[in-house]
Symmetry: C2
Subunit: 232 residues, 2 copies
Amino acid sequence: MSKPFASVWLREPRKATSPGRSREEIVNAAVELLDEEGLNGLSMRKLGAKLSAGATSLYWYVANKDELLELAYDEVWGEMTISEPEVVGWRDAASTQAYSMRQAMLRHPWSADLLGRMPALGPNAIQVADRMRRMFKLAGFDGMDIDYAVGTLTAYVYGMTVPEIVWNAALSEHEYDPDEMRKLVATAVRDFPGMLERMNTDIYQDPQAVRAVAFDFGLVSVLDGLERRLVT
Amino acid sequence: MSKPFASVWLREPRKATSPGRSREEIVNAAVELLDEEGLNGLSMRKLGAKLSAGATSLYWYVANKDELLELAYDEVWGEMTISEPEVVGWRDAASTQAYSMRQAMLRHPWSADLLGRMPALGPNAIQVADRMRRMFKLAGFDGMDIDYAVGTLTAYVYGMTVPEIVWNAALSEHEYDPDEMRKLVATAVRDFPGMLERMNTDIYQDPQAVRAVAFDFGLVSVLDGLERRLVT
DNA sequence: ACCTGAACACCGTTCAAGT
DNA sequence: ACCTGAACACCGTTCAAGT
């Protein structure tokens, strides 16, 4: 109840000394393990083994597993790029940013899980937020509206990408067969005739392509909606 | 790799017989436990104890813990209401739907975590999707655009609400002191002068109010953006 | 048909002890 | 300063056995 707000980012890190392992090395190994085996694949013992160390030696560099995940999580944010809004204009920069967020998350599916578990307070996450603020400021937003715009765009990308990742994960556990999937979904949806309309589309033939179109549709809508805030 | 796509919703449930426990009873108890103690507070042993049963007797009703969570998750979707779009118009109905999604998730913070972990395939989730489709159809969307519109609105609400829940959870672990929080954030943000602008606003005095305004701002933007798809 | 307890293979984390 | 192994208190799940 009254213990202080805890996050790796609010503590000074142990200074890196030359010999032995480093926090950076550990985080890199953790990201690798997470990419290969998912969130459940990462245990302190496995990570220790990967570094040919005792499982508990990691606790010298990191207070606990959650801190380690915070550090790994921020690496994902570090992969998000943005073009300079000053040269390409804010709408282009916003689109680039949105696509790059989506791609970074898709590359590291475990980030979808962490997103719902811990706040993004790392330096990379903050840098992304800072860039987006500058972008929307340049667009003409003012005061708190800048933050609201950042929040809206970020929320859209999150909300679109997380279910995509979850869906990918569910599918990757077995061979994907469009017809079989169509039948399964038809079963789930049997009581809602309106939902059956979608059955005959090509969603199940090429889900990736459909999701890309869907992402575009929503992105354009969100950007149009934000642009509208500027003129009124 | 080649095991079939697994989800509670694609199996026939064991038919409820009169004596003994029921699946419904178990799910209710699970939701209660989740509300009280969060996702980590739910273990099969604890849930068993709550029902004064052996931990492993639950496996008669449910294949594993993930299935149980799927069932609990769908209960959250069951709490989302929508006004009839035919009487209030699609924009009003969409707003109501968005607020009610947000509220349902806020009432069950563990849903933020599940969202990034398993697809929502339960009957309640499907019913919500069906209602939203009808709503956007009435608005004038056509073909796949109906689904894209549903996806966009849903994504926005997710993406906005999940970080809100995560933030609430991080804060609820200690007494909230606006000034202390301001200082902590100032530390995290120290290298980004642009971010410091926000320091002097009232975000930290009344975060709840600010988040409500932020949600509105984005919701109006998203709906405006969707509306724009209709005229062009 | 339903429920049980023992057992297995895991966890994260603490801590005294080593170098 | 760094690393170790043993130990603790948990997990989810299986399964033979009970009623």
